[in-house]
């Protein structure tokens, strides 16, 4: 596969690792923002190959993991309402809510579908005119444009049985919240390459100027990550703080302007609750007034029976880098992919799931 295999070359990786080692003069703490990056780092053992002085903190960039329990409860409540079809991306299905997940709701008789695209949900609404189709619109800026497009398609098709349960999140406010937290240790951020493919990195230039923290736009393959780490270390060593684009084969400064325009037409920024980070101003998206009839919350006012945070799950501390997944007392014991206490153990991008799958020793200690 062109543009993939080249970025998985162990020999080239060794060259970059040596360069990082030469550059590094003291301990550095970096955060990879995206769960896809975490997964790649752990899968390829990159954190173990890096020089001792570099610590990677795994960031909150897994949309499944930061979706608040209250949202899952809303989705379950909607799914269990007769006459409704709840559709979403497959990795939302097993995320535990207060007392159920969507897969369990499906087993109890709810009509829950897993789709790859919100546009498939629009088609589902057209094919099922007597049902209300609700798409659980979860994700970062990567999924928002297609979700916006689904609303526009439903509007032009004149559908009154399609709506979104929105739980969108955006990266820059999360970076800002982490960087400005009183106990922050992160010295530089590896920003999520695919988010910047859509959004560009002009927003990050303002952010870097405000925070005084280097940001490197970074891809997902092992070499992408090593080059991102190298660029971050280089800035820190020189005392610089700017935006570097190490994912130039996909990302431009402007990003995808058409996608941004679509998002802006349909959504407005709003307060959003993040699992682990709490409420962050203007970090989420809500449907604009003109599209209120596509807002499942407004139309159906889902009322979950109970909503309570599982006090045993320490995903919040994992998502903010305060503990590593295997430092949680439940890791690999009470909490496994088969019986997850929290979303970080469910999603393929969750830090806990990545540690569980790729850390033989960690499992042996706890198993």
């Amino acid at each position: 596969m062109k543009y993939l295999e080249e970025f998985r070359d162990p020999a080239l990786a060794r060259v970059v690792l040596q360069r990082i080692e030469r550059e590094l003069t003291g301990p550095r703490v970096l955060m990879e923002v995206c769960g896809g990056q975490t997964h790649s780092i752990i899968r390829h053992g990159i954190d173990q190959l890096l020089p001792q002085g570099i610590e990677l903190i795994h960031g909150p960039g897994c949309p499944v993991c930061v979706t608040p329990i209250a949202c899952i409860d809303e989705a379950v409540a909607l799914a269990e309402t007769p006459g409704m079809i709840l559709a979403t991306f497959a990795d939302m299905l097993r995320v535990p809510g207060s007392d159920s997940d969507l897969l369990a709701a499906r087993a109890r008789g709810a009509d829950v579908r897993s789709l790859y695209s919100p546009l498939d949900a629009v088609r589902l609404a057209q094919e099922n005119p007597r049902s209300q189709v609700i798409f659980f619109a979860v994700g970062f800026e990567t999924t928002a444009p297609a979700n916006a497009l689904s609303v526009l398609q439903a509007e032009s098709a004149g559908l009154d049985n399609f709506s979104l349960l929105v739980s969108q999140v955006m990266v820059p406010p999360a970076i800002e919240a982490i960087a400005t937290a009183a106990d922050n240790r992160v010295q530089a951020f590896l920003a999520a390459g695919h988010v910047c493919t859509v959004m560009g990195y002009w927003q990050y230039e303002h952010l870097t100027a405000r925070l005084g923290t280097p940001i490197v736009i970074t891809g997902f393959e092992p070499l992408d990550l090593l080059l991102g780490i190298e660029a971050a270390v280089a800035q820190l060593e020189k005392g610089q703080a700017r935006v570097d684009n190490q994912y130039a084969r996909c990302v431009t400064r402007d990003g995808n302007r058409e996608a941004q325009a679509l998002m802006d037409q349909v959504f407005a920024a709003s307060l959003q609750q993040w699992r682990g980070l709490g409420d962050l101003a203007a970090s989420g998206l809500r449907l604009r007034e003109g599209y209120a009839r596509f807002d499942a919350r407004r139309r159906f006012s889902p009322r979950p029976a109970t909503t309570e945070t599982r006090s045993d799950c320490r995903a919040g501390e994992v998502l903010t880098g305060r503990i590593k997944p295997d430092q949680c007392p439940h890791f690999g014991g009470r909490c496994t992919p088969d019986s997850p206490l929290g979303a970080t153990m469910v999603s393929a991008e969750g830090a806990c799931a990545a540690y569980y799958r790729y850390r033989p020793l960690a499992q042996a200690h706890h198993g």
Binding site: P10, H44, G45, Q48, F89, D91, A348, Y358
Partner: protein, 335 residues
């Protein structure tokens, strides 16, 4: 199978009457199943199976099939059912001899398609030298089934021993070919993904390869076909059953470019994607080359059995992954 005239044209779809056990049922059996499967002409409650082997033991295995879509690139539910059950027999070192088939048909299913499936079943049985000797049909109400469900039970004659108990540390782990084709064929069909060239399911009989291993039987510890949970789950099961550790090199596992691309696109790990015509052979270290040659040109050695527990896949990059059993379904990622 020269005969391909469709004999049931007067009833385009299966109705509940075809499952009522009366005259319509008999017509369904006569015109569809007997036309395709010669033994269905025998009117009796069971079949006498003559076993030429006098060893006194047979191997028996059963499996039920609920694949969607029913027809997919490289096969269909009926060929899959026959190869699936025959492969289970082959993994016990047994040559498939006699099969039974249980059809659960959803009301409204096109009889033409049913006939196509019956013929496909017959062809798959002929290919491995087994007979479909008995069968049953049931019709369920509309929306109480997914077109067709199939159960196939088979008996086979044991030709050599294959059991996880035989697995010992130091043994070689051989894989018969590239992985992930069946799962990707089904996925691309379900998601209507248009590829330049469709990925064909690897759905195929493993008995011919197993038969070639017969002269090397003393060196072969265990055979295991790869099914739903992919290579990773098969290795995890073998490791658990034999109380050994299995260590493989990820880069040595063949994955076609098309399968690798589809897996990238959907966020799936090819080691966990379903197969229907691949097997793992665990054999003595010294016999590795001969066993590999007998398995065919696509066979590769992917790792070793070691003392300990669990399955680990090492990557050329220096990382290692624990290959656990699949937890539920493999769920594609959001982004």
């Amino acid at each position: 199978m020269a005969e391909c005239r469709f004999p049931f044209a007067k009833y385009p779809i299966v109705t509940l009457a075809h499952g009522a056990g009366g005259r319509f049922t008999q017509q369904l059996i006569d015109d569809i199943f007997s036309a395709a499967l010669p033994h269905a002409q025998v009117r009796h409650d069971g079949a006498l199976v003559e076993l030429t082997d006098r060893s006194g033991t047979v191997v028996m295995s059963t499996d039920s099939y609920v694949v969607k879509p029913l027809f997919f690139p490289g096969g269909d539910i009926a060929s899959l059912a026959v190869t699936g059950t025959c492969n289970d027999l082959a993994m016990c070192g047994a040559q498939p001899k006699a099969l039974s088939c249980g059809w659960i048909i959803e009301e409204g299913f096109p009889t033409r398609k049913l006939y196509d499936l019956a013929r496909s079943m017959a062809a798959a049985a002929v290919e491995v030298g087994a007979d479909v000797v008995t069968g049953d049909t049931k019709v369920v109400e509309k929306q109480h089934g997914d077109g067709v469900y199939l159960n196939v039970t088979g008996i086979g004659m044991p030709r050599f021993a294959s059991h996880p108990d035989r697995i010992r540390a130091g043994a070689a782990v051989l894989l018969s070919g590239d992985v992930g084709r069946h799962g990707c064929a089904i996925l691309t069909q379900r998601e209507d993904l248009q590829l330049q060239e469709p990925i064909l399911s690897d759905c195929a009989h493993l008995w011919p390869q197993v038969q070639r291993l017969q002269p090397l039987a003393a060196s072969v510890h265990c055979l295991r076909d790869l099914t739903r949970g992919g290579l990773a789950t098969a290795l995890a099961e073998l490791s658990e059953a034999s109380a050994t550790a299995i260590v493989i090199d990820r880069e040595r596992v063949p994955v076609s470019d098309a399968v690798a691309s589809v897996c990238e696109l959907f966020g799936l790990d090819p080691l966990y994607v379903a197969n229907e015509g691949r097997m793992v052979v665990i054999c003595e270290d010294g016999a590795e080359e001969m066993v590999r040659a007998a398995m065919g040109a696509d066979a590769v050695c992917i790792g070793r059995v070691e003392s300990g527990r669990g399955v680990v896949a090492n990557s050329a990059f220096g990382g290692s992954q624990v290959l656990d059993r699949l937890s539920g379904e493999q769920l594609p990622r959001i982004c």
